[in-house]
């Protein structure tokens, strides 16, 4: 089922069909497989560090447990901040028209990284919004595909290829002076999701 974005600009409603845009869909992708001696594809599994358990896909279950060790159903979980205070849950915006905000300056996007992008195909597009986007205006849109406790900065913009919705996360960078040196704790957290380590193969064969 196609997803839609409904927005309002200067009192006029617009509706867009959304299509996810990412590198895979634009340029293709590569995947590394492992083959056994007969050339058959191997499956990945996890071996516990004590060597006792070999866990293939689907052989684990995720759960949340409290301090007493009881398993807590997801429906009973409450979002809290680091001090234990309950956070307000923001309802999804799906199916409800949202007023676009802006235009904003380009550096506001540069203070974020894109985490998801959609190409928008207009089903209804007001002349005012179309004209503003064509002039290069960038807008913020309240957009939450599901309920969340954190607002998701989302930008509506256009280029000569089309109209796009970009979901983002803030970078949080601060200006630094001569006395500000990088902390030792500044590790590359962003890279922990990289593809798996094929050094295993090299280590096994040593």
């Amino acid at each position: 089922m196609a997803a839609y974005l409904d927005v309002t600009y200067q009192g006029q409603s617009c509706r867009f069909a959304m299509t996810v845009v990412d590198r895979k869909r634009l340029h293709g992708f590569t995947k590394r497989l492992a083959l056994d001696a007969d050339g058959n594809e191997c499956a990945a599994a996890h071996l516990s560090r004590d060597g006792c358990f070999l866990l293939s896909a689907g052989s684990t279950a995720d759960q949340y447990i409290n301090e007493r060790g009881d398993s807590i159903p997801r429906a009973d979980l409450t979002s809290v901040d680091s001090d234990g205070r309950a956070l307000t849950t923001l309802a999804p915006t799906t199916g409800r028209s949202q007023e676009v905000e802006g235009p904003i300056a380009p550096h506001e996007i540069l203070d974020h990284i894109a985490v998801k992008a959609h190409a928008l195909a207009p089903e209804t597009l007001s002349p005012a919004l179309q004209s503003a986007l064509a002039r290069g205006a960038i807008f913020k849109v309240p957009y939450r595909p599901r309920k969340t406790t954190q607002p998701i900065p989302t930008f509506l913009l256009a280029n000569r290829m089309g109209i796009f919705l970009v979901q983002a996360e803030p970078c949080g960078f601060e200006f630094v002076g001569p006395q500000h040196l990088p902390a030792e704790t500044d590790v590359w957290a962003d890279d922990q999701g990289e593809e798996f380590d094929f050094d295993q193969h090299e280590r096994w064969n040593q």
Binding site: T19, D22, R23, K24, R25, L26, H27, T30, R32, L33, A34, L35, D36, N40, C42, A45, H46, R49, F53, L54, L55, S56, S59, A61, D62, Q63, Y64, I65, N66, I72, D76, L77, T78, V80, D81, G84, P106, H107, L110, I113, A117, A119, T149, M161, V166, E169, C171, G172, F173, F175, V176, G177, P178, H180, D186, A189, D191, E194, E195, W204
Partner: protein, 237 residues
């Protein structure tokens, strides 16, 4: 601590190896139960290779026999293991019988944008190129902020930081220049400084752009990495 570094050239023909700092994620949301007691994530074993479907199928063959075995002896449940919390694990590869392999041959499969396999080849390790063997080149190519944000999806950003006074002088000057030009400078590899950046071995090649701002003696220099250009995917025929 292993601080990431990048070698940058500037508009004055100078270059330096400086620090790259990742963005700091805002406080992660935590969860509590209905009593306000904090909860933590836990991963537990549901079955093992010895009690999984593949093993049952290879041992009993016919589904009728598997059903009979389930009713009579609970071979799908290992009472010693099920529900046990899983600690750190290593990734291994298993063959069709679920046995771990001690040597596997890696192969790289290439898929097109529609997800169809196009070729298979032996994988080649591509090294990172943030600190190249020869000094990098200032590309001299500037893109306005407005055009950059509407053309590219910047999926990663790193703050470029100094670790000594000389680097501070270099980076502050570069940030001031970029602010004055009101644009982002293309930063890349190769003889013209316009090739893709590879942040670590076998990482996705990305286009890099430097953005600079200053406030007095303070500066903000950010390396924005674009994984792709914003354009609609081609429709599959």
């Amino acid at each position: 601590m292993n601080q990431r570094r990048i070698q940058l050239a500037d508009h004055r023909g100078r270059d330096a190896v400086v620090a790259l700092v990742p963005r700091q994620r805002s406080g992660e949301t935590q969860y509590a139960d209905t009593d306000g007691s904090t909860v933590r994530f836990s991963r537990v074993a549901r079955c093992t290779e010895a009690t999984g479907w593949e093993r049952l199928r290879s041992e009993h063959g016919d589904p009728e026999l598997i059903a009979h075995a389930l009713l009579s002896g609970d071979p799908e449940v290992d009472m010693e293991t099920v529900g046990r919390e899983i600690g750190p694990c290593d990734r291994v590869f298993v063959d069709g019988q679920g046995k771990p392999l001690y040597s596997a041959r890696p192969v790289e499969v290439v898929y097109d944008s529609t997800g169809h396999e196009t070729t298979r080849r032996d994988p080649v390790n591509v090294p990172a190129n943030l600190v190249p063997e020869v000094p990098p080149v200032w590309s001299g190519r500037l893109l306005s902020r407005d055009e950059a944000v509407r053309r590219y999806a910047f999926t990663r950003a790193y703050q470029v930081r100094h670790t000594n006074a000389l680097e501070y002088d270099f980076l502050h000057g570069l940030a001031a220049y970029l602010e004055q030009q009101d644009g982002l400078a293309l930063v890349g590899s190769g003889p013209r400084g316009a090739g893709p950046l590879i942040t670590e071995r076998n990482a996705t090649p990305m286009k890099g752009f430097l953005e600079g701002r200053t406030r007095g003696d303070r500066y903000l220099l950010v390396l924005h990495l674009a994984a792709f250009e914003l354009r609609p995917p081609e429709e599959e025929e």
